[in-house]
């Protein structure tokens, strides 16, 4: 009886506004999966993709599926799709709105050009340097709260950590790090908010962009031996120098893209570790399992639970007909729990062999360029916390006792993750 009621409710629910789904989105995704690997939602004309193989094929077919609406989601397009192929309509409706002009929303060849600009930032040589910075940064942040015995890990650790790692990646001088830390606050993380578009003055991006315009202009006229100089002078594959504003926008976008997801995954890892003391003990003993622990968390928690594509031409996938102009919701969280790909998909398995086959970082030409960096961030975070803190527990005073906990998740149709996670601990001696 209860099951029937739930099903009925899911049929009527608007995924993009419903406030009860973020706390437990997976049963809704399972309801969608029960209708097939692709299914049309009753509202907004969106087709939801929950199948692992089907989703991978779409992610890898940028010729037919545009990323135009990657950040725009299910909102009505600024044009009425006409004809067999809407590529030209897409390209002639990008001006004006930034939401159609970010790297994650461009299609080739413009996407390819922008992605080439970023490549140099994510080289193995730089990653080794980034990791050293991360260790120092983690220790500094832990110093700030270690004497308290409790910590709210999202705002006191994960957010400043993710923010300053990106600042370091881009070569922001350390004397400016305080400034960058101040610009971002936990309440500012609002990707895919159910409350609609945030107010302009709450948007930290113009401030960040402003700083980067300053850096890039300075490094173009006074080159130094630093990462910002390399960034300022990186050229497009055709040899041309990109406008300062474009480099600044791309740099600022790294904060938007790289911060919130990393914060949510870090919180998920500590949530799992604090609720499962046996797992925590095992991981402390066998540190080499930390990377797969992170992969399994990425798979099961899918911090970016959904993303979007727009069909450029007609397609038939399975028995679903997709017209040109149809928005597809790529349900990453559901693809990562597809029983055809992952055995016993809802269970957390530290030893899962194919954990890293998850698509938590997407796939294809838009797949997360920050993934190698994020993986190191997650590893360093757990390692340094284990080194400095003897036992990590849930703070009962804040979340309630075992068996009766309360957790709140970001009210978003894109991001999945805790808004706050209060931990209690004993410092390591």
């Amino acid at each position: 009886m209860e099951l029937e009621l739930t099903t009925k409710r899911f049929e009527d629910v608007d995924y993009f506004t419903d406030r009860s789904l973020p706390d437990e989105p997976h049963s809704y995704f399972e309801f969608l999966r029960a209708q097939g690997p692709l299914t049309r939602l009753p509202l907004r004309g969106v087709v939801a993709v929950t199948g692992y193989n089907e989703g991978n094929a779409i992610f890898r077919n940028e010729e037919r599926f545009s990323s135009y609406n990657a950040a725009y989601g299910p909102n009505p397009l600024p044009f009425t799709p006409e004809g067999e192929d809407i590529t030209d309509q897409i390209e002639s409706h990008r001006d004006g709105n930034m939401i159609f002009r970010m790297i994650s929303t461009f299609d080739p060849p413009n996407h390819t050009r922008l992605r080439m600009l970023l490549r140099g930032l994510f080289s193995p040589k730089r990653l080794v340097e980034n990791e050293k910075f991360m260790r120092r940064l983690a220790d500094g942040l832990i110093d700030e709260f270690i004497a308290n015995g409790t910590v709210e890990i999202v705002s006191q650790f994960a957010l400043p950590f993710a923010t300053l790692v990106i600042a370091d990646l881009l070569g922001v001088p350390e004397e400016d790090h305080k400034l960058f830390r101040r610009i971002f606050s936990a309440s500012g993380m609002r990707t895919g908010s159910l409350d609609g578009v945030p107010k302009q003055e709450d948007n930290p991006m113009p401030k960040i962009e402003g700083h980067f315009i300053g850096y890039i202009e300075d490094r173009r006229s006074n080159p130094r031996n630093d990462v910002l100089t390399d960034l300022a002078n990186t050229r497009y594959p055709d040899g041309s120098l990109p406008p300062v504003k474009d480099v600044a926008a791309l740099s600022a976008f790294l904060f938007a893209a790289g911060q919130e997801a990393t914060v949510r995954v870090a919180a998920a890892m500590f949530h799992i570790l604090a609720e499962d003391q046996a797992l925590q003990a095992r991981l402390r003993e066998e540190r080499s399992l930390i990377p797969n622990f992170a992969e399994e968390t990425l798979r099961l928690e899918s911090a970016v639970k959904s993303g979007f594509r727009l069909a450029k031409v007609r397609a038939t996938i399975g028995d679903v007909e997709i017209e040109a102009g149809t928005p597809l919701m790529m349900c990453i969280a559901a693809m990562n729990r597809d029983p055809a790909k992952f055995e016993d998909p809802n269970a957390f398995k530290l030893d899962r062999k194919n954990a890293r086959d998850h698509v938590a970082f997407g796939r294809g030409i838009h797949s997360c360029i920050g993934a190698p960096l994020a993986r190191i961030e997650l590893k360093v975070t757990v390692e340094r916390m284990f080194d400095r803190i003897a036992d990590i527990r849930i703070d009962d005073a804040k979340h309630g006792p075992v068996g009766n906990r309360t957790y709140r998740y970001a009210p978003s149709y894109i991001v999945r993750g805790l808004t706050e996670l209060h931990l209690a601990f004993t410092p390591a001696s």
Partner: protein, 106 residues
Amino acid sequence: MKITYIESDGTPHTVDATIGWSIMENAVKNGVPGILAECGGSATCGTCRIYVEADWQGKMSPPHPDETTLLEYVEEERPDARLSCQVSMTESLNGLVVRMPERQYS
């Protein structure tokens, strides 16, 4: 135009290749298993590794230093390894045979 990809257990997959696409794209767009290509061809993940015999290597453009560095970073030890996303399909590679590692990540 053909490329044959051989899995570590010996299973071959032959595809009709598209000139101008990379060896990686020709695999993933034709559903060949064994090439993960997490980064979509940005040469940042090292999960599109293939092993290529010397004769065929000679017909490919030599690796860019970025490719070599990444192969070292992901601890790929075989000297015949390439990142399939960094090699474009050309006329002279018609009939190419490549082998894939058992796993693209450790």
